[in-house]
C-alpha cells in the first residue's frame, strides 16, 4: 500500500524562496482555483535572487537528468487555453544529471531581469510571471514546481497631462459640457471635474460616472473584447435646469484598477474609460465615453 501511495506522491519536496523574501512586499494574487495567496512583488530591472531546496522523501532517492530553474513571463489567452506564450524565458541550470539522496540547496540568481509587462489577471487573458523548477527524469515524468510572483512597474507623472473637455449633446434636447481635470490618472488619483448643463429639455433622473475597463485580446478577426464596469459613482440626483453645473470628485483608490496596457506583445490591450451616463425618467440612458490613461505612480 505504501508503494501505491508513493507512486502518486512526488518523490521529493521542492521549495523555492527569495533571498529577500522576508523584507519584500507581498501582494495578493488570485489563483486559478479562486484562492488568494500572498506573493512577492517585483519590478522590472530587479534581480531575482533566491534558493531552491530539494528534499527527497524519506529514504527515497531521486535519479535525474539535471535540475534547472526558469523564469518565465507568460501570456495565457483563455480562448486558447493551454497555450502559453512566453515573452520572457530565462534558464539557470542548477545541477548536472545524478542522484539525490538528501536535502540539497541550490542558490540561483537572475540579475536585472527585463520584465516590461505587469502581472495581469483579466477576463480573457492572464499575464503572469513564474519561477519554474524542473527535475528532468528518464522514463517517468519530470518533477516540476512553480512559484508565482507579481511584477508591477512604476512610472513617473507624465510631463503632459491635459484635461479632458468636451461639449456633447443631442440637438435641441440635451447639451452638456464636461471637463475632467486630467487625461492621465494614477491609481490613487482623484478625478475632479464639472458637468455643465447648457440645455436640458428632457427630464433627467440622475447622472453617474462609470469607470470601465476594456480588455481586448487576440488580433485581426479573432479579437475578443470584454468590457467591465469597475465603478459606478452617482454624480447627480434629480433633474437639473439649464445653467447648473455639477461637481465631480471621484476618488480612485477604492477601486481595483491597474494601469493601461497597450498592445502587450500583440496579444492584448487593457484600456480605461470614463463613462458619463445620464438617465432620464423613462430610464433611457445617454452616455459619453472618454478614454483615460491609468498609470502606476512611482511612490516617493
Amino acid at each position: 500500500m505504501n508503494y501505491l501511495i508513493g507512486a502518486f506522491k512526488l518523490p521529493c519536496n521542492i521549495c523555492i524562496s527569495f533571498a529577500d523574501g522576508k523584507s519584500r512586499n507581498q501582494v495578493p494574487l488570485k489563483k486559478e482555483n479562486g484562492k488568494t495567496v500572498m506573493v512577492a512583488l517585483f519590478q522590472s530591472q530587479e534581480s531575482i535572487v533566491g534558493e531552491v531546496v530539494i528534499e527527497p522523501m524519506h529514504g527515497k532517492k531521486v535519479e535525474h537528468n539535471g535540475v534547472k530553474i526558469e523564469l518565465l513571463g507568460q501570456i495565457e489567452l483563455y480562448f486558447d487555453r493551454g497555450n502559453f506564450y512566453d515573452f520572457t524565458s530565462l534558464v539557470r541550470e542548477l545541477d548536472v544529471p545524478g542522484e539525490l539522496y538528501e536535502r540539497k540547496t541550490y542558490p540561483f540568481e537572475f540579475s536585472t531581469v527585463e520584465m516590461p509587462y505587469e502581472s495581469y489577471n483579466g477576463v480573457n487573458v492572464r499575464l503572469r510571471y513564474i519561477l519554474k523548477v524542473t527535475i528532468s527524469r528518464n522514463y517517468v515524468s519530470n518533477i516540476v514546481e512553480y512559484q508565482d510572483f507579481v511584477v508591477r512597474n512604476y512610472t513617473p507623472p507624465p510631463s503632459i497631462n491635459n484635461s479632458i473637455k468636451m461639449e456633447v449633446g443631442i440637438e435641441d434636447c440635451l447639451h452638456i459640457e464636461f471637463e475632467y481635470n486630467k487625461s492621465k490618472y494614477h491609481l490613487k488619483d482623484v478625478i475632479i471635474g464639472k458637468i455643465y448643463f447648457l440645455l436640458v429639455r428632457i427630464k433627467l433622473k440622475n447622472m453617474e460616472l462609470e469607470i470601465r475597463r476594456r480588455e481586448s485580446t487576440g488580433s485581426g478577426p479573432n479579437t475578443y473584447v470584454e468590457t467591465e464596469t469597475l465603478a459606478k459613482f452617482e454624480l447627480m440626483d434629480g433633474a437639473p435646469v439649464r445653467g447648473e453645473s455639477i461637481p465631480v470628485r471621484l476618488f480612485l483608490s477604492p477601486y481595483e484598477l491597474a494601469p493601461t496596457y497597450r498592445n502587450i506583445s500583440n496579444k492584448f490591450s487593457v484600456k480605461y474609460y470614463l463613462n458619463l451616463v445620464l438617465v432620464d425618467e423613462e430610464d433611457r440612458r445617454y452616455f459619453k465615453q472618454q478614454e483615460i490613461t491609468m498609470y502606476r505612480l512611482l511612490e516617493t
Binding site: 465603478a231 447627480m236 440626483d237 434629480g238 433633474a239 455639477i246 461637481p247 470628485r249 483608490s253 477604492p254
Partner: protein
C-alpha cells in the same frame, strides 16, 4: 384614489423608517465596536432611505428627522475617531467613496462639521467645499433637506465675529458668502418644484411648497443671527444679494414669502436705513405677488418701531421714510396695472397708518395719501368689491382713531373725496363711524364750515345717494342710523349765537333733502337745538348794536316756521303740530305775540286739515289745550279766538267720553292761577256744565245701546274739576253745585242699571276722602269745605 395615495404614502413611510432603523441598528453596533468601515457602510445604507421620491415633503420630513438624529450619533463618533488619532482629512475623503450621492453628501456634511471643529483647515474652505458639493442634488425636496441639514450643522460653526472659527483667513464675509450661497441654491430648488410634475397637480404642489418654505427662510434667519453683519455689510452685500435672488427667481410664492421673511427677520433700523433698496425691489416682483400684504407688514413694523421710542423718530425724518414709501407704493401700483383695487386701498391704508404713527403732526402727509388714493379710485369708478369697501372704511377710520377728533379729519381736503367712491351702503357705515367717533370723544364741531364739511362726509345718512334705488333697508337699522344723526345734531353747539345760527342754517340745508323718511328724525333735534338758541338769546337785549343781520329770536322763529312746515308736507302733521306748539311756547317766552299766534294758527290748521284720526285728535287737542293754557303773551282778542276754537274742537270729538274730557280740560283755559286777567269763573262753569251734559248724554247713550249705564268715572272726574276750581276760589263754583254733583254720583252708583266699576268706586271714595281731609285741615280751607256733606 386620493385615500389610496395617502395610505400608500403611510406604507412607504413605514417601510422607509423600518429600513432606516435596521441600518441604524447595525451602525450603532459598528459604532460601539469602533468599526469605522462598517459604520460608514451602514450609515450610507441608512441614508439611502432618504433617496425615496415617493413621500410628500411632510412625510419626508419625518424620515429626515430620524436620519438627523442618527447622524448626530455618527458625528459624535467621528469626533472621537479624530481624537483617537484618525486623520480627519482621511475621514473626509473616506466618506466620499460612497457610490450614491445623497448618502455621500449627508456623510460629507457630517464629517465636514467635525472637520471645521478640528480647525485643521480653515472653516471657510470646508464650508465652501460643502456648499459646492451639494450641487449634486438637483431633486428639489431632497436637495432642500440636504442643504437644510448643511445649514443646521454649520450654523454654530460660521466664522462670525467673535466666533472661535474667525481667523485671519476666515472672516464674517466668508460666513455670509456661505449662507448666501446656500440660500440661493435652496431657493432655486424650491422654485423649481413649481415647474415639475403635471399641471393638474399645481395646487398640491403649491401646498407642498408652502410646507417647505421655512427650510429656505431659515437661511435668512441664520443671516440675521450673524453678529458680524453690520449695517454697511447688510446694505452693501446681504440685502442686495438676497433681493437679487428674490427678484430673479420670478416665482410668486417665493417672492411673497421671502420678502415677508426679510422684513420679519432683519432689524427695523436696517430696514429704515435701506428703504430705498428694499422698496426698489417691490415693483420688480411678479404681478401676482400679494405685495400689499408684505408692504403693509413692513409699514406696520416701521410704525411699531417708531412707536417704540421717540429717539428713533429723527431717523425716520432723516431717511425721508414717508416720501420713500409713498413713492414706492406709487411705483408698485404702476408696475402692476392688474392689481385689484383692494390691494391699492390696503397699501394706502397701511401708509396712512404709518404716517399717522410716525408723523402725527404732518396732516399734509395724511392728506397726500388720501389724495393719491382718490386719484387711483377715480379711474375705477364706484367700488363694487366688498372687501375693498371694508378696507376703505378702515382707511378712513384710521385718522379718526388716531386723532380722536373729527375736526382734524375735516382738515383733510381729500377725505370727503374718498367717500365719493363708496357705494351708499358703505357710505352709511362710514358716516356711522364718524358719528360714533364724535359722540365717543364728545368732539365739539363748532363752526358752520366744519358742520358743512361734516355733513358732506355723512351725507350717506342724510339723504338717498343713488337716486331711486331703494333697497330693502331694515327698519330698525334705519331708525338706529337716523337716531344717531339726531344725536349728532344735538351735539353741534357754539356759544356764539351768530355762529350757532349759521350752524343751524347749515344743518337745515342738509337735512331738508333727506326725504319723508328721514325728516321726522332729523327735524325735531334741529328744532330743539334752535329753541335752545332762542332761550339763550331771550334774556339778552335785543339787537344791541342794531345790526340788521344779527341773530334775533324773530329770525330764528322765521326759520323754525319754515323748518316745521317741511314736516307738514311729508306729511307728518302730528309731529309738526307738536313742534309748532313747542315753538309757540318759546315765542311766548320771548313775548312775541304775533309769532306765537302764527304758530298756533299753523297748529290749528294742521288740526283741522290734516289730523283726522280720532285718537290723534284727542292727543292733539290735549296738547293744544295744555300749551294754550300756559300762554301769557296773547291779548284778550287773540286769546279768545284761540280758546274759542279749542273749546269748539273739543266738543266735536267723536266719542262722548273724549268730548267730555276735552271740554272739562278746556275749563282751564279760562282760569290761570298766576294770570289775573285770565280768571273767568263763569266760562269755567259753562265748560264744566257742558261737560256734565255730555257725560249725561254719554250715560244715556250707553243705556240705550247696551242696556246698562256707563261708568260714573266721568262724573267723578268732573267732580274733581269742580273741587279744583272751588278750592282756587272761583266764585261760580259753590257748595250747592258740588253737593248736587255728589248726590248725582251717589245715585248713579246705586242705580240698578249701573255697571259695577271698582276703579270708579275707588276714585270716588278717594275723592270723598280728600274732601274729609280738607275739612279736617281747618283754617280757611277747612272752613270752605265745611258745608259740603259727603
Amino acid at each position: 384614489m386620493i385615500a389610496d395615495g395617502v395610505e400608500d404614502e403611510e406604507k412607504w413611510l413605514a417601510a422607509g423608517i423600518a429600513g432606516l432603523q435596521q441600518n441604524a441598528f447595525y451602525m450603532h453596533r459598528a459604532l460601539d465596536s469602533n468599526n469605522l468601515r462598517d459604520a460608514l457602510k451602514y450609515s450610507a445604507q441608512m441614508l439611502s432611505e432618504l433617496r425615496t421620491s415617493r413621500l410628500s415633503p411632510h412625510k419626508y420630513y419625518e424620515l429626515y428627522m430620524r436620519a438627523f438624529d442618527e447622524l448626530r450619533k455618527l458625528e459624535v463618533f467621528f469626533k472621537e475617531e479624530a481624537r483617537r488619532g484618525c486623520s480627519i482629512v482621511d475621514l473626509y475623503e473616506l466618506v466620499q467613496h460612497a457610490g450614491n450621492i445623497l448618502p455621500r453628501l449627508y456623510l460629507l456634511c457630517t464629517v465636514g462639521s467635525v472637520y471645521i471643529k478640528s480647525k485643521e483647515a480653515p472653516a471657510k474652505d470646508v464650508l465652501k467645499d460643502l456648499v459646492e458639493m451639494c450641487r449634486g442634488i438637483q431633486h428639489p425636496v431632497r436637495g432642500l433637506f440636504l442643504r437644510s441639514y448643511l445649514a443646521q450643522v454649520s450654523r454654530d460653526k460660521l466664522p462670525d465675529i467673535g466666533s472661535e472659527y474667525e481667523g485671519d483667513a476666515d472672516t464674517v464675509v466668508d460666513a455670509v458668502e456661505f449662507v448666501l450661497q446656500n440660500f440661493t441654491e435652496m431657493n432655486k430648488l424650491w422654485v423649481r418644484m413649481q415647474h415639475q410634475g403635471p399641471a393638474r397637480e399645481k395646487e398640491k404642489r403649491e401646498k407642498e411648497r408652502s410646507e417647505l418654505r421655512d427650510l429656505v427662510g431659515k437661511n435668512l434667519h441664520v443671516l440675521s443671527q450673524i453678529e458680524g453683519i453690520d449695517l454697511d455689510m447688510y446694505k452693501d452685500t446681504v440685502l442686495p444679494r438676497v433681493l437679487e435672488q428674490v427678484v430673479n427667481c420670478k416665482d410668486e410664492i417665493a417672492q411673497y414669502y421671502l420678502m415677508d421673511c426679510i422684513i420679519q427677520v432683519f432689524p427695523d433700523e436696517y430696514h429704515l436705513q435701506t428703504l430705498d433698496v428694499l422698496l426698489g425691489a417691490f415693483p420688480q416682483l411678479q404681478p401676482a405677488v400679494d405685495i400689499k400684504t408684505v408692504l403693509s407688514r413692513l409699514m406696520e413694523r416701521l410704525s411699531n418701531y417708531a412707536a417704540s421710542s421717540a429717539d428713533v423718530l429723527p431717523e425716520f425724518l432723516q431717511v425721508e421714510a414717508f416720501a420713500k414709501l409713498n413713492n414706492a407704493i406709487g411705483k408698485v401700483i404702476e408696475a402692476q396695472p392688474d392689481m385689484p383695487i383692494l390691494g391699492v386701498i390696503t397699501l394706502y391704508s397701511s401708509l396712512l397708518t404709518f404716517t399717522l404713527h410716525v408723523h402725527p403732526d404732518r396732516l399734509d402727509y395724511a392728506d397726500q395719501v388720501l389724495g393719491a388714493c382718490v386719484n387711483k379710485l377715480s379711474s375705477k369708478g364706484k367700488l363694487e368689491d366688498n372687501k375693498a369697501t371694508k378696507q376703505i372704511v378702515a382707511l378712513l377710520s384710521a385718522p379718526l382713531d388716531k386723532y380722536n377728533d373729527i375736526v382734524t379729519a375735516l382738515k383733510l381736503s381729500n377725505y370727503p373725496r374718498v367717500l365719493e367712491y363708496l357705494d351708499s351702503e358703505t357710505n352709511k357705515v362710514m358716516a356711522t363711524v364718524i358719528i360714533q367717533s364724535i359722540m365717543k370723544n364728545k368732539t365739539r364741531v363748532s363752526t358752520a364750515d366744519r358742520v358743512e364739511a361734516l355733513f358732506e362726509l355723512i351725507k350717506g345718512l342724510i339723504k338717498d345717494l343713488d337716486g331711486g334705488a331703494h333697497d330693502e333697508v331694515d327698519e330698525d337699522d334705519f331708525k338706529e342710523e337716523q337716531n344717531s344723526v339726531a344725536r349728532l345734531i344735538q351735539l353741534l353747539h357754539n356759544d356764539d349765537p351768530e355762529e350757532m345760527f349759521k350752524i343751524i342754517c347749515t344743518v337745515r340745508k342738509h337735512i331738508l333733502g333727506g326725504g319723508p323718511k328721514r325728516l321726522p328724525f332729523t327735524v325735531p333735534p334741529l328744532v330743539f337745538s334752535s329753541l335752545k338758541l332762542v332761550r339763550q338769546l331771550q334774556g339778552q337785549e335785543e339787537n344791541p348794536f342794531g345790526e340788521e343781520d344779527s341773530t334775533t329770536p324773530k329770525k330764528i322763529f322765521q326759520l323754525l316756521n319754515q323748518i316745521v312746515e317741511t314736516l307738514c308736507n311729508i306729511p307728518a302733521p302730528e309731529l309738526a303740530l307738536q313742534l309748532y306748539l313747542q315753538c309757540a311756547e318759546a315765542a311766548n317766552d320771548c313775548d312775541l305775540e304775533p309769532v306765537a299766534y302764527e304758530f298756533f294758527t299753523q297748529a290749528y290748521i294742521l288740526y283741522e286739515e290734516e289730523i283726522s284720526d280720532s285718537r290723534a285728535q284727542i292727543t292733539a287737542i290735549h296738547l293744544i289745550i295744555g300749551t294754550l293754557q300756559r300762554m301769557h303773551v296773547f291779548g284778550v282778542e287773540n286769546r279768545d279766538t284761540l280758546t274759542h276754537k279749542a273749546t269748539g274742537y273739543s266738543a266735536k270729538l267723536l266719542k262722548k267720553p273724549d268730548q267730555c274730557r276735552a271740554v272739562y280740560a278746556c275749563s282751564h283755559l279760562f282760569w290761570v292761577d298766576d294770570q289775573d286777567n285770565v280768571k273767568d269763573g263763569e266760562r269755567v262753569l259753562l265748560c264744566l256744565k257742558r261737560a256734565l251734559r255730555i257725560a249725561n248724554a254719554a250715560q244715556q247713550m250707553s243705556n240705550a245701546a247696551r242696556g246698562s249705564a256707563g261708568s260714573v268715572t266721568l262724573f267723578v272726574e268732573i267732580l274733581n274739576k269742580y273741587l279744583y276750581f272751588f278750592e282756587k276760589g272761583n266764585p261760580q263754583i259753590n257748595v250747592a253745585a258740588i253737593q248736587s254733583l255728589l248726590e248725582l254720583v251717589t245715585t248713579e252708583m246705586q242705580s240698578d242699571s249701573s255697571t259695577p266699576d271698582p276703579a270708579a268706586d275707588a276714585f270716588f271714595a278717594s275723592t270723598l276722602r280728600y274732601i274729609e281731609f280738607q275739612k279736617q285741615k281747618g283754617g280757611a280751607v277747612g272752613e270752605k269745605y265745611e258745608p259740603i256733606k259727603a
